[in-house]
């Protein structure tokens, strides 16, 4: 595909339409740009944060501006795991399984304070932050977070995806 594009560019040059013209970029930047505008999220909604997730996922806030408006309900098709709501100890292995099923490259987004730290659930049932189970890329605190906070988080995640390059490996 790259050679085809080059041939096209060469033809354009020969046609004198863009002459003298050239186009340079880094491959990792181009791929990062593609990746950050096609965030396919897997919404793992377990608690009340789900209401706020539904709000932010609907048309009013228009997540499609960031290429993140297309939820996939299979972990094998998803890039970003949205963990939305309290994770209990009994739910933890399920979440880990979902994370393991996702294909690289993948990112994890902790939505709401319960996923970040356990929130006010300091008890026997609740996992004290999902980063004890899976590596987390982005924490969005709030109980629940406002849609503006979620959008801000997605923009920050985009910056992270853009910057990380194609050869980075995930730290487990």
């Amino acid at each position: 595909m790259v050679t085809g594009t080059l041939e096209k560019l060469e033809k354009m040059e020969q046609s004198n339409l863009f002459a003298p013209g050239f186009f340079t970029s880094k491959l990792s930047e181009a791929i990062g740009w593609c990746r950050k505008f096609s965030i396919f999220g897997f919404p793992m909604v377990t608690a009340c944060c789900g209401m706020e997730y539904m709000s932010v996922a609907c048309s009013h806030y228009d997540l499609d501006r960031f290429g993140a408006g297309f939820p996939r309900f299979s972990p094998r098709q998803a890039d970003v795991l949205f963990v939305v709501g309290t994770i209990s100890h009994k739910m933890a292995p399920v979440m880990r399984r979902v994370y393991d099923q996702m294909t690289d490259p993948k990112w994890v987004l902790a939505f709401g304070v319960c996923t970040c730290t356990g929130g006010f659930y300091n008890n026997y049932a609740t996992v004290q932050g999902i980063d004890t189970i899976v590596p987390v890329d982005l924490y969005i605190p709030g109980c629940p977070p406002r849609p503006e906070a979620v959008m801000d988080g997605i923009i920050k995640l985009q910056a992270k995806i853009q910057a990380q390059g194609i050869r980075s490996t995930r730290v487990e």
């Binding site: 100890h89 009994k90 933890a92 292995p93 399920v94 300091n122 049932a125 996992v127 189970i133």
Partner: protein, 159 residues
């Protein structure tokens, strides 16, 4: 019909105390007689308690009350439309009560929950294992001496 009087006359040596507030009738009994009383409540045609609405436990640690635990049963009669609460006293030394699974099948899950949360064993229960928590969990979290911030081992994916 006064259910409390009926039970007191029928089982005088079983009943520890009773109270009745605004028709909300409660009988406190010794735990040894729970099955005998439950059978009577279910099969007596006048009482006909065909429904066990709730079964739970209370921990009275540091409440100046002996014994420590109390099983609480709520019975309801669909035909007679009356209710009764039965409490059975359970000591800390031998936290064991007879099961009511034979009489009301719903007691199976209720009793598993009480075992899970309070560590009360149920004699003759067909499947007494944890229902809400997982097998690796240590202790019984709704006991008042369970530290609220105790951390349990995190369990991994299972096949």
């Amino acid at each position: 019909m006064n259910i409390i009087e009926l039970i007191q006359n029928k089982f005088p040596d079983l009943v520890v105390s009773t109270h009745d507030q605004c028709g909300d009738q409660t009988v406190v009994i010794r735990k040894e007689g729970i099955v005998t009383l439950a059978k009577f409540l279910k099969y007596d045609p006048e009482l006909d308690f065909n429904m066990l609405t709730d079964l739970t436990c209370v921990d009275y640690l540091k409440m100046n009350q002996e014994p420590r635990f109390e099983m609480v049963y709520h019975f309801y009669s669909l035909t007679k439309n009356h209710r009764l609460r039965v409490k059975a006293l359970v000591e800390e030394k031998s936290p064991e009560v007879d099961t009511l699974c034979e009489l009301w099948p719903i007691a199976n899950w209720f009793e598993r929950e009480v075992w899970d949360m309070f560590g009360i064993r149920f004699k003759n229960h067909p499947n007494l294992k944890r229902i809400l928590l997982y097998e690796e969990f240590v202790g019984h979290p709704l006991r008042k001496d369970y530290p609220y911030d105790k951390r349990q081992p995190i369990i991994g994916p299972k096949n």
